[in-house]
Amino acid sequence: MIGAFVLGCALHLAPDTHSGMQAAIDAVRAGDFLEAERAANGEQDVLTRHQAVVYVRHQAGDLDGALAEAESGSRAFPDDAWLQDRRVYIALTLRRSEVAEAAVGALERLADRATTTERDRWAATARGYRAELGELQRQLVARDCAERRSIWVTVGCLIASTTLLLGFARRGSV
């Protein structure tokens, strides 16, 4: 997945433009994430800079950092489908359902407004994410229900036990 992402990212770029992004990609391929981050931060174009930093942080395994940058970039550039895509992907990896929900919604809206070829691609991507998000949300809802159930059963059992204790004590068991 990450390999395909790298290739897609590289192919997306026109040569000799966005030199900071290209330098970041080259540095990541060379295994130098620090240099890649420097190159990404040196990118002139603001949108591309956000994308580059997300890419570097994600490749380096700093998922929280990558998500924070994707969030920041999405706020500044809400119509960038790539950033929304990364936002969903990383949020799902980190199991942050609310972030993923917001990002999937944004991706779906962008897909609706996109050109024909782009629309199909992003719509299919969003559908896949939506299914994954649904499963995550189901698990988290089940967890919350289980927690409430545990508390109620515990309280009920304790009340019943206390009632029995008091009842036996009052009836002269002691």
Binding site: G31, E37, R57, D62, V99, Q139, R143, S150, V153, L164
Partner: protein, 550 residues
């Protein structure tokens, strides 16, 4: 009137009852009570683990049930034939105990749904384990609590003795039985018989005791056989039907072997195929976690495994060509496999690994290529890590500390100033201590506490790096020598594969220094690591929620 206790002077011959039998019943019931209690925690372990919180919940439920049972037993002891009541109580308790393995997974699933990660489930563990323990263990233990007062009443009537004498005798024998049950369950029943058979044996003993009472002559206990037969049905059905589900792997993995040890449930699972095969050794509930990992070749593991960062000192200190290494918390030997394959050329390693659970070592030798004891590669199985450190003679160049209990708990005695000072005393000048600490960030309360304690013991700052693609941090401390500094000469080592991993933790926010702080140190006397671990889970979920809502 029915229910009034006859006076000692007017005790009918039919109510005479051998003191030996009733004391035997009390003793055996005590043993079964402890068997249920100790096996209870292990029964819950596949879902809730065996943390201190789970133990506290189970013990609390048992004590509550016993207290209610004592009063109920006192109430029931006023009947004309307490022997009959005792037999019925034992019959029902036998059935309830025998059915526990067969229904535990159903009840546990109500309170702990599948698919959660370790940190997501952590919130559920205290409440879920308490609710599960109440549903599963309250009824049977409550009935077992009735045995002591009923036995006392029977003994007092049949022997015409004083309440104190009868009560003291019952308590004495019951407690001795509990003692036998405690040791027998831990050291024999659970490891040798397994959990299902342990509960069935406890149920069978209670059933046999009930039959003994019913069939003993001139007790009057057998005058209503139909009631006894109905009460016996749960146990008899449990013999045929009550079975815990077979161990199984989760998350599209293949189960290779599962065993019960004195400490935990252990299993080896496999994922992938061919050269990409990975095997994991998991304990108890595991969730998305693992205790050890194996791949076919030695050396670095794929990204996301913190063990890779244990090898860095071998590169940073390349002037050392022969390394004496101790691994505290060896598990299945993952750390050693990484070191053995990921060191600079010309380096030799002599190792001693300590793993407290011998079953882990046994499975590791069978499935995860942990070698047999050999000169230069010792495995101390069944030895606590701190005790193992004491036993190692000579100086060490590297101590790897990777000891965890119950999935995510650092044992308190392995996270203190005294422990780290003892470790430092074993290190040669310039020697390293590397520790894995599970934590959600570099601000995680557990990471901060352990790092500051380590720094205080080594009397200099330590560095923590956040392992990429993981929930782990690795701490580095050095004995009377400088640590390498990220983004400075000396951090990278000239090997592309190693430098790639090192550069990933040079990014801002992925590493941090921790200064010595005596005030914030954990000590043997005062160690709040468990509270910190609870705070860590809470902080992580609140932090995520706060970020999500922005």
């Amino acid at each position: 009137m029915a229910g009034d206790a006859p006076s000692a002077e007017s005790a009918q011959p039919g109510q005479r009852f051998g003191a030996v039998i009733v004391l035997g019943v009390a003793g055996a019931s005590g043993a079964c009570t402890m068997a249920v209690e100790l096996a209870a925690v292990r029964l819950l372990a596949p879902w809730f683990g065996t943390s201190t919180a789970v133990w506290t919940n189970v013990i609390g439920v048992i004590l509550l049930a016993l207290s209610v049972g004592y009063l109920l037993g006192a109430r029931l002891s006023r009947v004309t034939s307490p022997q009959r009541v005792l037999a019925l109580v034992l019959l029902v308790a036998a059935g309830l105990a025998a059915w526990l393995p067969g229904v535990a997974h159903i009840v546990a699933a109500w309170f702990l749904p599948e698919g959660l990660t370790l940190d997501e489930a952590a919130r559920l563990l205290p409440w879920g384990s308490l609710a599960t323990a109440l549903v599963l263990f309250l009824p049977s233990t409550l009935l077992l609590g009735c045995v002591a007062p009923l036995s006392t009443e029977i003994l007092q009537r049949s022997n015409r003795s004083s309440a104190g004498r009868a009560g003291g005798a019952v308590l004495c024998v019951s407690t001795l039985g509990s003692l036998a049950g405690t040791f027998g369950t831990t050291y024999f029943a659970v490891p040798e018989l397994g959990l299902t058979r342990t509960f069935l044996v406890a149920g069978a003993i209670l059933f046999a005791l009930a039959c003994l009472i019913l069939l003993a002559p001139r007790t009057g206990a057998a005058s209503h056989p139909s009631i006894a037969i109905v009460a016996a049905l749960p146990f008899l059905s449990a013999l045929l039907l009550a079975r815990a589900p077979a161990p199984h792997a989760k998350h599209d993995m293949t189960l290779l072997e599962a065993r019960e040890s004195t400490y935990q449930s252990v299993r080896v699972v496999e994922s992938g195929s061919g050269a990409d095969r990975l095997r994991f050794l998991q304990v108890n509930e595991s969730f998305d976690s693992f205790q050890s990992v194996w791949q076919e070749r030695v050396g670095f593991l794929p990204d996301g495994f913190y063990y890779n960062y244990f090898a860095m000192p071998l590169w940073w200190s390349r002037d050392v060509t022969h390394w004496r290494v101790a691994v505290i918390g060896l598990g299945a030997g993952t750390a050693l496999r990484v070191l053995d394959g990921a060191h600079p050329g010309g380096t030799t390693i002599e190792s001693t690994g300590a793993e407290i659970d011998p079953v882990v070592v046994e499975l590791a030798r069978r499935w995860l290529d942990l070698g047999a004891d050999a000169p230069g590669h010792r495995v101390l199985a069944g030895v606590d890590g701190r005790a193992a450190l004491h036993s190692i003679s000579g100086q060490l160049d590297l101590i790897v500390l990777d000891a965890y209990a119950n999935q995510m708990e650092i044992p308190a005695h392995l996270s203190t100033r005294e422990m780290f000072s003892e470790a430092r005393a074993k290190l040669a000048p310039g020697g390293w201590l590397v520790s894995n600490v599970g934590g959600f960030s570099l601000e995680d309360p557990v990471v901060v506490a352990v790092a500051r304690t380590l720094a205080a013991s080594f009397e200099q700052r330590v560095i923590a790096v956040r392992v990429p693609f993981s929930r782990n941090c690795v701490l580095y401390a050095r004995n009377r020598a400088e640590l390498p500094v990220p983004r400075s000469p000396g951090w990278r080592v000239g090997s592309p594969e190693v430098d790639r991993k090192l550069s990933a933790v040079e990014l801002s926010g992925t590493w941090a220094w921790f200064e010595p702080s005596a005030r914030d140190s954990l000590t043997d006397d005062l160690n709040c690591i468990e509270a910190l671990q609870r705070r860590s889970i809470l902080a992580a979920s609140e932090h995520a929620r706060a970020k999500d809502s922005r």
